[in-house]
């Protein structure tokens, strides 16, 4: 038996089918914090941007590895999927050849983890913005 949605969720849910949640999800993925900014939650958006962009910069400064698709190794493919979560930041790293092609020391390995986790955290942030937009998350 389905549990009825809480009253605050029903109140916040858009009455007509709206493209806003999808737009928020897409922009939140492309630019960290952008989804929250669109919804007017600028402080959350700013904090998310600083955190995820900070992790991205530290990862690059530590010479973390930027994963490429189709390397054949399962772990590399998982790393690629994780880093793809950074959206445009991953695209910038690829376009300008930022980061390293392999981890050469322990700190560089830390940098790789920073980059992967920045992507995963950005995905969580984008999904959170989507939940705010469709009313699943109250505020």
């Amino acid at each position: 038996m389905a549990t009825p949605a809480p009253s605050h969720a029903r109140a916040a849910a858009p009455t007509a089918k709206s493209s806003l949640p999808a737009l928020v999800l897409l922009l939140g993925w492309l630019v960290p914090g952008a989804g929250h900014l669109i919804l007017g939650k600028w402080l959350r958006g700013l904090l998310l941007f600083i955190s995820i962009f900070g992790m991205y910069l530290i990862g690059l400064a530590l010479a973390g590895k930027i994963y490429l698709p189709n390397t054949g190794d399962v772990l590399d493919m998982l790393g690629f999927v994780g880093q793809l979560g950074m959206g445009l930041l991953y695209g910038l790293a690829r376009i300008f050849s930022l980061g390293a092609t392999s981890s050469v020391n322990t700190l560089a390995d830390y940098g790789t983890k920073f980059l992967v986790c920045a992507g995963l955290l950005n995905l969580i942030a984008a999904v959170d913005a989507h939940s705010l937009a469709n009313g699943r998350k109250p505020s």
Partner: protein
């Protein structure tokens, strides 16, 4: 240059901010959960470090 410990502190800080904002709805609870995540991360690393030291010695 970052040391291993300072890199871990920054990682825990940024991770806690994102978790706090995304996993709670009210600002006060966000702050509490963020602090909880940060404390758990840093505390876990310190405990694990001492455990590794004890195993080595």
């Amino acid at each position: 240059m970052l040391t291993h410990f300072s890199a871990m502190l920054l990682f825990a800080l940024f991770m806690s901010v994102v978790f706090g904002i995304t996993q709670r709805s009210q600002p006060r609870m966000m702050l509490r959960f963020g602090l909880f995540c940060f404390g758990l991360s840093v505390g876990g690393v310190i405990v694990a470090s001492w455990l590794m030291w004890a195993i080595k010695h």
